[in-house]
Point group: C3
Chain length 273, copies 3
């Protein structure tokens, strides 16, 4: 199944509109190119709806949220909804400030998202209307482990049903659910957290995957998570003496560039509940 999903990305080369942060925009652009998609970054209200209309999908990321770009997020999100385009939301740092949490909640209210992707603290902040995110990383106490996986999956499923979005919570174990079916994914390596923007890249990738596969957003979002994790594994095997997180960052994008649909199918490590 993932083979076909990834093949659609490579063949359709979806154009993705990104309203995102300036810290990881370059990595997101190169990751989109690596998977066979094309990026356009545009965050100005005066063109947001128009740019969205020429694209196939939209990726909204609040990593360096500021007043100037918020109206563009709402305008592009609503226009994408009107056009039936997939919209992915990455609530970076929700819970770390009222400004981020409130903006994220406002977006959830007015824009129908196809996928909401974040770490567990960010998603819990959205679900509970506030929280204790440690900056842009998940709080240790909230991390998904084998022990609390059932509870976390139940929480994610409930939030998915409430928002009618696929909810994609990533961490040591990833949970991707639409509230009916849940993918528990074990691809990836802990060192991925030492590279800034792996989450942002995954959200961009998710937008490409769901845009190229409009009929199966749940499986497409899960495939994107597996693809990212698998690239983390492949890149990890390429590390040699002297390598650190900068080489690892490059190698993950390189791995996506070379990953084949068949390799994704074979390397994806998940169970469906």
């Amino acid at each position: 199944m993932f083979e076909q999903i990834f093949d659609n990305v490579r063949k359709k080369a979806p154009l993705i509109h990104n309203i995102t942060n300036y810290v990881t925009a370059n990595d997101c652009a190169n990751m989109l190119l690596a998977c066979g998609s094309s990026p356009i970054m545009a965050d100005e209200l005066k063109e947001a709806a128009e740019i969205t209309a020429v694209c196939g999908g939209l990726n909204i990321n609040i990593g360096t949220l500021n007043r100037r770009t918020i109206p563009a997020m709402f305008a592009a999100g609503k226009r994408s909804n009107e056009l039936g385009h997939p919209v992915v939301f990455d609530p970076v740092g929700a819970g770390a400030s009222a400004f981020r949490t409130d903006t994220a909640l406002g977006l959830l209210k007015e824009v129908a998202f196809t996928v909401i992707r974040g770490n567990v603290s960010e998603i819990r902040s959205l679900a509970h209307g506030g929280g204790a995110t440690r900056g842009v990383d998940a709080a240790a106490a909230e991390r998904v482990t084998e022990e609390n996986l059932d509870e976390a999956a139940a929480f994610a499923g409930e939030f998915a049903r409430r928002t009618r979005a696929v909810v994609s919570i990533t961490g040591a174990i990833d949970i991707v659910t639409d509230g009916e079916r849940t993918f528990c994914i074990r691809n990836g390596r802990p060192e991925m957290a030492a590279v800034t923007g792996t989450g942002c890249q995954l959200s961009a990738l998710t937008a490409a995957f769901v845009t190229a596969n409009p009929d199966c957003p749940l499986a497409a979002a899960a495939a994107a998570v597996c693809a990212m994790g698998l690239c983390g594994e492949i890149a990890g095997r390429r590390l040699t003496d002297g390598c650190g997180n900068a080489s690892y960052r490059n190698y993950m994008i390189d791995a996506m560039y070379r990953l084949t649909p068949a390799e994704l199918e074979k390397g994806a490590d998940y169970e469906v509940r």
Copy 2:
């Protein structure tokens, strides 16, 4: 000729003022450093004219255009004109939104550009006052090929005469013309399109080359295109198993860092019409 032009860049180390996008600013800065130039990124109206005055040349790029930085583009462009500094314009995504097209046309009206560099769709949008740019990539139907090269060169020449700028259209075959003489350049590799910002980097590079060679902007702009394409070739030969677009990005900048004027002279692949 290109040997002398590149030697001037290395020896004069021109300081280039960049008003550019946040997606590829880091790559542009490192590419400028690689060629022997120095970058300063500054997009605030309150300092734009002053920063431009301490620099040797200006590079305006509308990749993540927003209302805040537009006045800085006009102010810096006009001040550079007053001072006789070279100004390069990269109309990223012109044609993809009215906001971009209109801003680009406004700049063309009020600022005299030394070089206008873009893909064929962007340049056609400027020439025709609108267009159908596919995001930030050239539309397939408009791409320059051996079959339509004569027509494309004629179009570029006409636009160059009209704007009194060197027009630099890059793609599989590159066209650099001042409306009198035309360089058709065949350096480069298709994989360069899989790295975000190679066009932005070339525009920054072009600014350095024309700034260090004020007497021959056409040849300097052509030399920059050849240098970028040649670095794409050199970097391509360095790719090994496992490499993808992230390694390729790094290797192109590395190649520019090491490229000698004599190597550029020897490796430049062009004809003059």
Copy 3:
């Protein structure tokens, strides 16, 4: 001593709030992760004070200064002062425009900085209320050499006493002083200047080091300078045929990721006056 200081960074993993430029934000984030710290980039007034409060330290960098983010710098700086958090200031390009110099002087007036880190031209501009910075690089005539080291150290010490901050001037020879004791540091390589943002990365690193070592800001700032320079040396030894400034950039971050406290202790090359 530096061993313990770096060990504290790795063990405490301080969360650093960065209000910084979009050119080097990605490198700063990866460098912070490489040293064991966590970054959050947030430059919006509406959340600046709140984000600062959940972090351990603050890093203010005016590399792409604009009107929108200045109020956030003041708000976060003052809030950090109230909370007793370390604050690092990187006055990128001070002296290159009145806008930068004035903003920097305004910040110096209203915010108590723990460390002020810049090149010699930037620091002289702050000390003299103006100057002749060459873009974002130090003016050749002002560079610290063996010949003018005594004078430069005396100048730095005087500025440190006046601002009650540790002053960290980096170049071929680095000077880190609190006005009482002065570290003269000889780690590093000249090629580091060919990578954009090594100064920005050092400022971010300095914030992590002083945050994890609140009782010894002078030694912590000096340790950060040594660590950065040492990574420049280690990365330099890893360069092979074909490598340039892009590989060098990656290798420096890689080197920080792998550097041990004991290696820093052993490799730090400094004298205390």
